[in-house]
Symmetry: C2
Subunit: 354 residues, 2 copies
């Protein structure tokens, strides 16, 4: 099944999803020439990237790690290790709660407490209902599984202030901070300033090889670096991913405002397509979800048809919803999306529900 | 200091150490063309490599991971999770005890019990002195920090039998199993058969990008794969390291017998150099340590002189010993070593103690 889908994808020539149909050769090319190697994460291009990210986020220090699943639980445990609680407050859709096989609990002895409702963003009232002295509040901007919704900056300030007033660390899951920055019309540093620690990713909107950074105070980052070693992330050389990130980041950041405008234009174009709704109705970052009035089986057939007949690649399977006649897909607006007119995107969506 | 040494190394044109002065461009080239990507570790070249390694080691299954520091504690904890003990028996020089910031204890709740003496290999008598019901016995072949010494195959069989008779898992730290294979004149599978689980590495003697595999029973490997995800090692794409390993492994394995012969010839040539001793006196694998009768400071000056005047790269610093007039260095015999006559190696060593 996996191989069949991979083969179908490999035969496609076009896509509007994210940064498009990149090949492994494309990705290797992002490493670039004349890379200066690190030694077990020290020196070379890894140190250069860490310095660049710390500056970009307005933090004293940053550390490069292979993955967010390694980075975020380690960062949260460092916060907990200097506080009286192992509890972290997060949204029910938090990546740590849903996609990491409970690593936060199994490896780091943390307790995740979901606050608020799965169907909407966290509010200050949700936080005020919490009595226990938690170690940290984790917020994800934009909230991916809600189609990229974000609180107003005033709400954001109120929530992190609530946490900090209670000696909790405020941690940002900024897997898509670059996108949040475009949505808020604020620099990454202006958003990062609300938080003690900030996680950012390089392989999603940026389009580099897998890798990420955590930025924050010197003493916290030094501890995260120790956990990176314990977790097996301080490889003999981390330079391929770090070089790739450095080479791709500037271009991706420069493109984010255009991606935001394009997201808004796509949502507008889709308004006229019966059976397609956008979540949120007006995108708040360069991404959105579509609710498509079609069964999961019919959707998959249409996607296969589009791939085989038109060599056009879309999501091979849609996420099911509580309504058997409605499925959900996620559009990350990237450099490939920019190459497609909003009307073209709307047409493709119409074909997927036919 | 780090940057100064890196710059001096970069200016050198020759070396006899391991696989030599590879550049980052050389390493990127090992990935090769037309690589089939995995998705979060599933499919593509990662699956191909895992199949190849399982067959090579004669095990039902194998899993690819980014690093040994991730792989080995995870494997040992899987053994402990199905037994009544969290204790692992290992040599005082075990990598987990010395170089991983106690990850085995901090992340996996394991207790490491060193058996035997630091200065020599584990013996059956050392094991027979253990009363507690441990979860696993870890053996490292060859024992790197003893210059690559290995027990006889009879001793090895007796030790793993002792462990298995007591319901302990036998785990091989085979970071240099390829080298052990050449030293024993046995195939990797013939050595692996003694063990329940086997860790092998690709970036040392093989000369690929960082990465490793653990091979063993299906149910154990499936659990190690879950821990890989929790530890943050199931990256969106693991294909660069896996492709590099596949491309380099066959050539490195084919070269191992020649590396073994060369190690023996070097030890022979060094016999005539006053102030240089080889540990062990007769190499047991394609590696050895040299005890050099020189102070650490004088050694470093000589190494710097060799790099700057001759553009010849050797260890920039030597390990100190209990004797202030003797230092220790480790020679990994690799493809670069093969390009240098044993007499030439002996001459360089003589200059380093001058």
């Amino acid at each position: 099944m996996l191989d069949e889908i991979a083969a179908r994808r490999a035969a496609c020539t076009d896509s509007f999803h994210g940064n498009g149909l990149t090949t492994t050769a494309d990705m290797v090319a992002t490493i670039g020439a004349d890379v200066e190697a690190d030694t077990y994460g020290d020196g070379g291009v890894v140190a250069d990237l860490e310095k660049e990210i710390a500056e970009l986020l307005g933090k004293p220090a940053a550390v490069y790690l292979p993955s967010g699943t390694m980075a975020q639980p380690a960062t949260l445990r460092v916060h907990a290790d200097t506080r009286s609680s192992r509890t972290v407050l997060w949204h029910p859709y938090c990546h740590l709660a849903r996609h990491e096989l409970e690593a936060y609990a199994q490896l780091h002895g943390l307790v995740g407490r979901a606050v608020g409702e799965q169907s909407r963003l966290i509010t200050l009232a949700d936080l005020e209902a919490v009595a226990e002295p938690a170690a940290a509040l984790l917020l994800e901007l934009p909230q991916r599984d809600l189609g990229g919704q974000m609180p107003s900056l005033d709400d954001l300030f109120a929530q992190v202030s609530w946490a900090r007033d209670r000696n909790m660390a405020a941690h940002l899951d900024g897997a898509r901070l670059w996108e949040a920055s475009a949505g808020y019309h604020r620099s990454p540093a202006e958003i990062a300033q609300f938080f003690d620690t900030v996680y950012v990713s390089f392989y999603k909107g940026v389009g580099a090889l897998p890798g990420c950074c955590v930025a924050g105070p010197e003493d916290v980052i030094a501890q995260v670096k120790e956990w990176r070693r314990r977790l097996g992330g301080t490889l003999y050389g981390l330079w391929p991913g770090a070089a790739s990130a450095r080479n791709k980041l500037t271009g991706a950041l420069a493109e984010m405002p255009a991606r935001m405008d394009h997201a808004l234009a796509i949502a507008k174009a889709v308004e006229d397509v019966p059976g397609v709704r956008t979540v949120p109705a007006v995108p708040q970052a360069p991404m959105m979800h579509f609710l498509l009035s079609v069964s999961a089986g019919r959707y998959a057939e249409n996607a296969k048809e589009l791939a085989e007949a038109d060599k056009f690649w879309v999501w091979p399977k849609a996420m099911e919803t509580e309504d058997p006649d409605v499925v959900r897909v996620e559009l990350a607006v990237g450099s490939a999306t920019l190459r497609h007119d909003p009307a073209e995107v709307a047409n493709i969506l119409a074909r997927l529900i036919a």
